[in-house]
């Protein structure tokens, strides 16, 4: 397969043929779909559609004026005794953390779940300098032990079974073959509790940055993010700049949508609204508070008015759960940490459309993602735009000649009805009559190539009608009238 192909990567097959994995992913996503459906049903949340529209408008407004809100946010964080650090990419983030750790003599970092730090491989970068940083979200912790990247934006270990976890714990923690999920969870709790109490620095992500408050908002169920941001002496929140919303009073809109869209919860167990280090008189909490604002390509996405909306994403994962393609191919077949429909939209924009040109094509354009997106990102439209960019790039690079020629030819034929009709009749003559009337299980070898072969690899083929509709229509007109 050439680098420029816009077709299925061969590695998909392995996932498609893994019956256990198929069942695990299909069941898990199906359950999440069901929970979301119940949580946004008209009888429990009549204002659901209105909330989506509001969320979209707030995100649009904030991002259209992002420079203003970045500066406002920064000013408010400063006023509360915290510090904002701008970083262009992952290496700047790692440099900042390493420098701070060195200055403060920090040895151990606890981390709560953050897709942004996954995006920049922060753990690996820190480990490279012998600074231990431990993931504390249960799923992320398991994946860190197993050296895997998240399978899903909100349920990172969605593909693993209790038996997989037992093997990982046996190998990495020396715990003999524990397959009871509750006990596995408590083992992790025990290990991680000690880490929380020993750690010098806690690194969290952020679900939202609130400009008018200078606050970082974190949403979670386990309590590990609370521990990460409360127990260590230093709290660093690493967030993409696009996480900004204008006002604290905008939060209810997003909080009502996020938990429901992700797991069907009206609110997740913990919602933390953090603005600066421990204040005068407060008994506990970090003494130092930093917010790292990451660009890493986001300014490039901002520049495109239409595609800017892909930055509205609040990482609820609903588009993954509802995507029939994600449900078949899973999270690890996507080229980057962001998988599913939103991954197919943002990855090409961050990495360049030429890197994995097949990605925007890995969709049947069914639109389920757009239907469930809590901030109304028109994902199918963005995929179509990206497809067009891919074909343009390929034309420029003089690649994909056969397909382009085929479509040019096709378009020409479609503008010439007589030729179209003639070609239709000629094609029909090529196809023999099959066993099922009108349906072919195979075609002669000389025809079993290209798209026909691909079609037949999965399903039977309709035999072209010996008389097209227009031919029927002509005789119908003559006979009836």
């Amino acid at each position: 397969m050439s680098r420029t192909a816009t077709t299925e990567p061969p590695k998909f097959r392995q996932t498609l043929e893994d019956a256990n994995l198929q069942l695990a992913v299909y069941t898990a996503t199906g359950r999440l779909m069901e929970k979301r459906r119940e949580a946004v049903a008209a009888d429990v949340l009549p204002e659901y559609q209105e909330l989506r529209t509001q969320a979209h408008e707030i995100k649009k407004h904030t991002l259209d004026n992002l420079d203003y809100y970045l500066e406002l946010f920064e000013e408010r964080v400063k006023a509360h005794g915290g510090k904002v650090v701008y970083c262009k990419d992952g290496s700047e983030v790692a440099d900042f953390v390493l420098r701070l750790a060195k200055e403060r003599g920090a040895r151990l970092i606890v981390k709560s779940k953050s897709m942004t730090t996954e995006e920049i491989d922060l753990n690996e970068r820190l480990a490279h300098h012998q600074l231990e940083s431990v993931e504390t979200d249960l799923g992320e912790y398991i994946l860190q032990l197993a050296h895997q990247r998240p399978y899903h934006i909100v349920a990172p270990a969605l593909h693993l079974t209790r038996y997989d976890v037992a093997n990982i714990f046996t190998e990495k923690l020396g715990v003999e073959n524990e397959t009871v999920i509750e006990k596995q969870t408590m083992i992790a709790r025990g290990v991680l509790r000690q880490k929380f109490l020993q750690a010098d620095i806690g690194i969290s992500g952020a679900n939202f940055l609130v400009a008018d408050s200078g606050a970082v908002v974190i949403v979670e169920n386990e309590g590990n993010a609370r521990l990460t941001t409360s127990a260590p002496r230093i709290h660093i929140a690493v967030a993409g700049m696009e996480k900004m919303i204008a006002r604290a009073q905008d939060l209810p809109v997003f909080l009502k949508l996020l938990g429901r869209s992700a797991t069907g919860q009206p609110l997740t167990v913990y919602t933390s609204f953090l603005s600066g280090p421990r204040r005068e008189g407060e008994v506990d909490g970090p003494e130092e508070f930093y917010v790292v604002l990451l660009d890493n390509g986001r300014t490039r996405l901002l520049a495109d008015r239409e595609k800017r909306q892909s930055l509205y994403c609040i990482r609820c994962g609903a588009c993954l759960n509802h995507c029939p393609v994600y449900r078949k191919v899973g999270g690890h077949n996507y080229p980057w940490v962001y998988s599913g429909p939103i991954g197919a939209v943002i990855t090409p924009q961050y990495m360049g459309v030429g890197k994995d040109p097949w990605l925007p094509f890995a969709s049947s354009l069914c639109g389920a993602c757009y239907e469930v997106c809590p901030v109304k990102i028109n994902i199918p439209k963005l995929l179509l735009d990206l497809r067009s960019e891919v074909t343009k790039l390929k034309a420029k690079e003089r690649a994909g000649w056969a397909e382009r020629t085929a479509f040019r030819l096709w378009a020409w034929v479609m503008r010439h009805p007589r030729i179209y009709e003639l070609m239709g009749s000629m094609t029909a003559a090529f196809f023999p009559e099959g066993e099922t009337p009108g349906w072919l299980r195979s075609v002669p070898p000389f025809m079993n190539i290209g798209p026909l072969k691909k079609w037949l690899s999965q399903r039977d083929l309709p035999r072209p009608a010996s008389k097209s509709f227009r031919q029927h229509w002509r005789s119908r007109r003559k006979g009836v009238r």
């Binding site: 898990a28 359950r31 509001q54 707030i58 004026n65 420079d67 203003y68 970045l70 701008y86 700047e92 249960l138 799923g139 398991i142 349920a155 270990a157 079974t161 209790r162 999920i181 596995q184 992790a188 709790r189 991680l192 509790r193 109490l197 008018d212 408050s213 606050a215 169920n221 386990e222 309590g223 609370r226 409360s230 700049m241 006002r247 604290a248 009073q249 905008d250 209810p252 909080l255 009502k256 009206p266 609110l267 997740t268 167990v269 913990y270 919602t271 609204f273 953090l274 603005s275 600066g276 421990r278 204040r279 008189g281 407060e282 008994v283 506990d284 909490g285 604002l293 300014t299 901002l302």
Partner: protein
């Protein structure tokens, strides 16, 4: 300086200039339904019970104290500095330690405790959430480290929901460095989507509405 560079890139991308004010933001639409106190209490306890939280509506400080005393019997307990707890007599229970002002000591006590007792600044009727605002009265770790969390919440503090909370506190950062909403016991479903409670935070949450 990455700061200037990044802000410049953002402005260029958006076609804006330095110091330019934003367009008018979309209106804030917070809606507070009229719900009588009894119904708010009912809704709060219902929602929290559904999440496996335990609730008790106490009609006197003595009832709250009884609940706390029973829950804490034979346990190591840390209580916050909230006057509500003192007024109920909870801080006077023999096994309850309170009045921490030093972070290090509080942390050690919480890490060793079986039960943490706090008040809550507000509670949300529709979701069964507690609103914990860090202050000299309320520390963060008491509701987080011990495996059991008990909160005594004055009934007048039960709001309808998020919209009312953010109407009362249009900018929580003005009064605290940390506001946390707690909605039920700590939980995870990261392995096979099987629900397990008490993964990092408390596995039990008890709320006495006073």
């Amino acid at each position: 300086m990455p700061r200037e560079k990044i802000l410049h890139k953002v402005r260029t991308a958006l076609g804006r200039s330095s110091g330019q004010l934003p367009a008018t933001p979309p209106p804030v639409r917070l809606r507070i339904p009229e719900v009588p106190l009894d119904a708010r209490i009912e809704s709060f306890t219902c929602a929290l019970n559904k999440l496996n939280g335990k609730t008790c509506v106490a009609h006197s400080p003595q009832e709250a104290l009884d609940y706390a005393a029973q829950l804490c019997e034979g346990k190591r307990v840390v209580a916050s500095n909230s006057p509500v707890l003192r007024e109920c007599g909870i801080t006077g229970l023999p096994n309850v330690r309170s009045n921490y002002t030093d972070a290090e000591k509080l942390r050690e006590a919480c890490a060793a405790a079986d039960v943490g007792i706090t008040s809550a600044d507000y509670a949300l009727g529709d979701t069964g959430s507690l609103v914990m605002i860090a202050s000299p009265r309320e520390a963060r770790l008491i509701s987080l480290l011990p495996p059991v969390h008990l909160a005594i919440v004055p009934r007048s503090r039960i709001l309808t929901g998020l919209d009312e909370l953010f109407t009362l506190l249009p900018n929580p950062a003005e009064q605290t460095s940390s506001m946390v909403l707690i909605t039920g016991p700590s939980r995870t479903a990261d392995i096979e989507q099987i629900l397990v409670r008490g993964v990092h935070g408390p596995r039990e949450i008890h709320v006495v509405v006073l």
